[in-house]
């Protein structure tokens, strides 16, 4: 197996505030990693750095063999990003949105690819409707369609289930499984442990700007992900752990 994402000693500061502290992270091709952690742990900041939207203060980040921020365009070509915001234009139809992004990513055989994507996210019958008439769940499915349109090697998902009802979450999960089955690499931040446990093949807990623990599905203890997550949070609360993180900086 080869690492498709490699992050080493990553530090991100916003002014005096340190958000990510000497973070090390590695993902192998085809893995589905759930990145878990409390609010303010640095999950979104970390994904923004991986997606080239934010620059690291220190440390090295590489995606699909290209380093950030210097080879950002090459990284972007290989990335799809889904966030809790759909990144779609409400005044354009679903088809026009994909047409626009398809042109921006220079997708080959765009019309055929759009047909495939609409089929995959189950929006073929609504493709000519304006996005602003879509429910939140449909918008999020189209957002996945937008993100996978150029068939990226890596899909980054920042709390994609936020604001979705049960049915919409289930549909979203089906779409994500379809992407995972095709051997693509997925990194998803989530607060929904049950869904994460259901979807992912590996679970990393990010607290206080660093990866506190990582466990694969096979190595999961019998009492489940919730118990493991709580254990990691407790560990990060210990005075020694915080001191170590401070000392590392």
């Amino acid at each position: 197996m080869t690492a498709i994402i490699e992050v080493s000693r990553l530090i991100k500061r916003f002014g005096p505030k340190v958000v990510l502290r000497q973070l090390d992270f590695q993902v192998e091709q085809g893995e589905f990693v759930a990145l878990l952690g409390p609010n303010g742990a640095g999950k979104t900041t970390f994904l923004r750095i991986l997606s080239s939207l934010s620059r690291p203060t220190m440390g090295s980040v590489s995606v699909a063999g290209f380093t950030l921020p210097h080879q950002a365009a090459n990284v972007r070509r290989r990335l799809g990003v889904v966030s809790h915001m759909p990144l779609l234009y409400g005044d354009l139809s679903a088809e026009e949105n994909l047409l626009f992004y398809g042109r921006m990513y220079a997708v080959d055989q765009l019309a055929t690819r759009m047909d495939e994507v609409f089929e995959q996210v189950g929006l073929t019958l609504r493709r000519r409707d304006l996005v602003r008439t879509f429910s939140r769940g449909m918008q999020q499915r189209l957002a996945i369609g937008r993100a996978i349109l150029h068939d990226p090697e890596v899909l980054l998902l920042d709390e994609p289930h936020t604001g979705l009802d049960q049915d919409a979450c289930d549909m979203l999960d089906r779409a994500l499984r379809q992407v995972a089955v095709r051997g693509r690499t997925l990194v998803m931040t989530s607060h929904d442990l049950a869904r994460a446990e259901d979807l992912a093949s590996r679970f990393d807990v990010l607290t206080r700007g660093t990866i506190q623990g990582s466990i694969s599905r096979q190595d999961m203890p019998r009492d489940g992900l919730l118990a493991y997550y709580r254990q990691m949070l407790e560990q990060s609360q210990k005075p020694g752990s915080a001191r170590q993180a401070e000392a590392a900086l």
């Binding site: 939207l53 972007r76 005044d91 354009l92 042109r103 921006m104």
Partner: protein, 227 residues
């Protein structure tokens, strides 16, 4: 030459997207137009002057109208990108970000020229002034290009702030003073029938401003959008 086609494709996609979205919503143009009409109407009643004096104030009134209506459009154009996270969507695309800037600028320019195309005949009727002068069209083309070139860059900066509606005019107006002065002077010159040699320095000033500020904005846009 290799990078030219992707650049033009991305630029075309951004322009197409903005025009298509506006064709559907008509939010931007209608807001700019209503505002422009109101300004013209207010000035029409406020300046109950003789027709020859009116001709002298026309240049100022016209450019005040274009400037404020344009600012409204610039704010809205970037707010649409920011509010639904679409700016991130644009920045995630593997294209030269200067193409995104130029695409947004071109679309904003089209909107401003559309407003001007509607405002000019109405202004002509209300103020009983002939505005159908080829030279004046050139001044509007050059003046509005300089205005949107700087405005698009600054609205991209301002949109990141919570106080974006207040921030944009504070940032924009001091920078566009040269283009506004030159545009008002050149417009006034054409309306008063001055000799071209007296107007030419202002036209040249507009051309220089447009070239310099479009080039600077083109070069720094990537740094402006970088977090």
């Amino acid at each position: 030459m290799n990078g030219f086609t992707p650049f033009m494709r991305a630029l075309g996609a951004v322009v197409w997207k903005d025009l298509q979205a506006e064709r559907r919503s008509r939010e931007l143009i209608s807001a700019m137009l209503v505002f422009a009409m109101l300004v013209i109407l207010i000035f029409n009643f406020a300046l109950e002057l003789e027709s020859n004096i009116r001709a002298n104030v026309t240049a100022g009134v016209l450019w005040v109208t274009f400037t404020f209506a344009g600012q409204l459009g610039l704010n809205r154009s970037m707010a649409v990108e920011k509010d639904r996270g679409c700016l991130d969507g644009l920045l995630l695309a593997p294209v030269d970000r200067a193409a995104i800037y130029l695409g947004k600028t071109l679309a904003n320019w089209v909107f401003m020229l559309l407003v001007a195309a509607i405002v000019l005949p109405i202004y002509s009727v209300l103020y009983n002034t002939n505005l159908f002068i080829p030279g004046l069209v050139l001044v509007i083309l050059l003046g509005s290009e300089g205005y949107v070139a700087v405005g698009t860059l600054l609205s991209t900066m301002a949109v990141q702030a919570r106080t974006r509606d207040i921030l944009l005019p504070i940032l924009l107006f001091p920078v566009v003073i040269p283009v506004l002065v030159a545009a008002v002077k050149a417009t006034g010159g054409f309306l008063q029938g001055l000799d071209i040699s007296e107007i030419l320095p202002y036209i040249n000033m507009l051309i220089v401003y447009d070239v310099v500020f479009t080039a600077v904005a083109f070069m720094v846009f990537d740094s402006v959008v970088e977090e």
